[in-house]
Amino acid sequence: MASHSQAETLALREQFDTEAQQKDASTLGMWIFLITEIMFFGGLFLAYTVYRRWYADTFAVASCSLDVYIGAANTIVLLSSSLTMVLAVRAAQLGKRRALVLFLVLTLLLGGVFLGVKAYEWNQKLAEHHIPGPNFHFEGVAQQGPAQLFFSLYFAMTGLHALHMAIGAGLLVFLIVQAGMGRYSAAYMTPVDVVGLYWHFVDIVWVFLFPLLYLIDRHLGR
């Protein structure tokens, strides 16, 4: 069974000259997809930048209502999941199947922790009436509109990021099952490699979201 699946996955497609070229094509394809994602998130970051310039004071006060320590802790959780992901890719490169499965499971668990903390934060926002809509109320600012704008951007950006995390978690489950069946070897581990690229990309998005959403003018206090 293993030899059958190996033969299937190792097959060199006729449009490629070498296995290295075939792998490079897969990696490049994933990068092209990630670039479309960069442009997509770039538009949101741009909208955020424009409104932050217009309503700097309100954005600073609204940002200070987010819990910076939860945000920082969650950043560390996500960075840890990137470490376990890269160690999973390394295990795959070395053909270590048990280590590969172990690190993929760890990555999935850390991703789950991140999403759990995010759900807790959103729930807090719901209790505080900080979700844009008819029940929105933010204390301490004269204009409710710009504050709603901040939280609209907050939910749009963290929500889309969480959606990407959830998709990443689904991909990890797929990889764990496939790796457990012994589909990957040192010679063929392209799926692990490209899912790794995706996972690190989602990490990088958060690396920018965290300071931009949580860390505006913290010295102003609460």
């Binding site: 990696t27 490049l28 424009v50 920082a72 840890s80 990137s82 690396v207 965290f210």
Partner: protein, 102 residues
Amino acid sequence: MTDNSEHIDSARTYILVFLALISLTALTTAVSFVNLGDFSVVAALAIAVCKMLLVALFFMHVRHSNKLTKLVLAGAMVWLGILIVLTLTDFATRGLAGVPGR
């Protein structure tokens, strides 16, 4: 292993990069409590770019990538720059001439 173009970094390298990322996260959080005026956003973004480069170069293996991948990534950064810089030049210069609509 037939693919001789593939580089495998040591686990030690990855752990060092990870520790650098954690340190930068602590640094950016600490710096946000200091009043640096307009410079605080510059500091936050500079640290975020450093973290992005560490993740991309080491975890995403860009430093071992082929020239085509590097060229495509550089091109993407140019397009992202066009998106951001051209839009911001519009918003930053609105009302500069003192004429409505200019």
